[in-house]
Symmetry: C2
Subunit: 205 residues, 2 copies
């Protein structure tokens, strides 16, 4: 029987990887469709709002990667224990996504002069500003990004890290943040995540 | 007795207004703190990740406006009836937020040449691309943005509209999208929302 879930994305980790981490964590089978970049122009017009990843389930199509991750987190029980805890989790996920977008604004800028002008503020101010605060949150939360225990916020951040580093030119942006490094290790040592990372297709981002 | 919730923001609607709509819809009292812009430099360092709005409740502080809106939506029962419905609601909210960010990238650009270069793509391509699709979604969803009934996605979009229009130079961006106009009217005619809009402090955005 075909898996109940089908995830479609570019042949990379990036925005789909948090969802793949959640499937793996929960031991939920999924069809991991990775299309060739050369086919994107044909695929894009059929995607909701022209974007991927999409998630197909029971004949329905969902979009927006964070929304999908939140849905899967409920299925694999990596959510909070009440509505306020879920608010704390959602807020830190949105904050990590804010950081991702600020990095992307630099990384995907095609005008070299504009890109260069964004480099120093990003690396000297924005990234340290976010990572110092995220590191302090992990320290105050028993090694996690929210509510003192493992949640989908942790998987979201760690799954996205390689993409963040890629956009930053390959630098390990968390190297000087010991609590974030420890969080990365915590997540990557979860047996189901470790097994997924070992078997997943290789990609640069 | 003081209200159980305290919302702090600039003296405008913008990102706080969806949350204020949800409080109003549910008849939940809240302290609506609006600080003077001149005090922002003193306030900013004490805000989580330097941003507002924040929501205070039971001695705790939350940030990230969409996360807060989702929390309040649960309290006032404007959520889906199952996890997949909540995924659909979350996805359309994130999509409206994508549109907001694309508009902001134009509106808040301080380099006039860069701003001018973004104008035509935004108004001729991006905004119509999003609004055509959102209009079709409302048509297909019984007059709503998701799951065929009133949800917090509807309140989120309508509460944000004045801010979107403000960033677009005062144009009514939905004027040519009849299903979105009808949705706006539906939300603004809810008695509790209507009463809030009549009594709220006046602001330009």
């Amino acid at each position: 029987m075909a898996p109940a879930y089908k995830l479609t994305y570019f042949p990379v980790e990036a925005l789909a990887e948090p969802i793949r981490f959640l499937f793996s964590y929960g031991g939920i089978e999924f069809e991991d469709v990775r299309f060739d970049r050369e086919n994107w122009p044909q695929i894009k017009p059929n995607m909701p709002f022209g974007q991927v990843p999409i998630l197909e389930h029971n004949g329905k199509v969902a979009h927006q990667s964070i929304s999908m991750a939140r849905y899967m987190a409920k299925k694999v029980k990596l959510v909070g224990s009440d509505d306020w805890e879920d608010l704390e989790i959602d807020a830190v996920v949105d904050t990590v996504n804010d950081l991702r977008q600020k990095i992307a604004l630099y990384s995907y800028e095609t005008d070299e002069a504009i890109k260069e002008s964004r480099k120093e503020p990003l690396f000297k101010e924005t990234i340290p500003y976010y990572l110092q605060r995220l590191d302090a949150i992990v320290k105050a939360n028993n090694g996690h990004l929210a509510v003192g225990k493992l949640t989908w916020a942790d998987l979201y951040f760690v799954a996205l890290l390689k993409y963040l580093n890629y956009m930053c030119g390959g630098n390990d942006i968390i190297a000087n943040y010991p609590n974030l490094v420890a969080l990365k290790n915590t997540v990557l040592e979860i047996p189901a995540i470790k097994a997924w990372v070992e078997k997943r297709p290789k990609s640069e981002m």
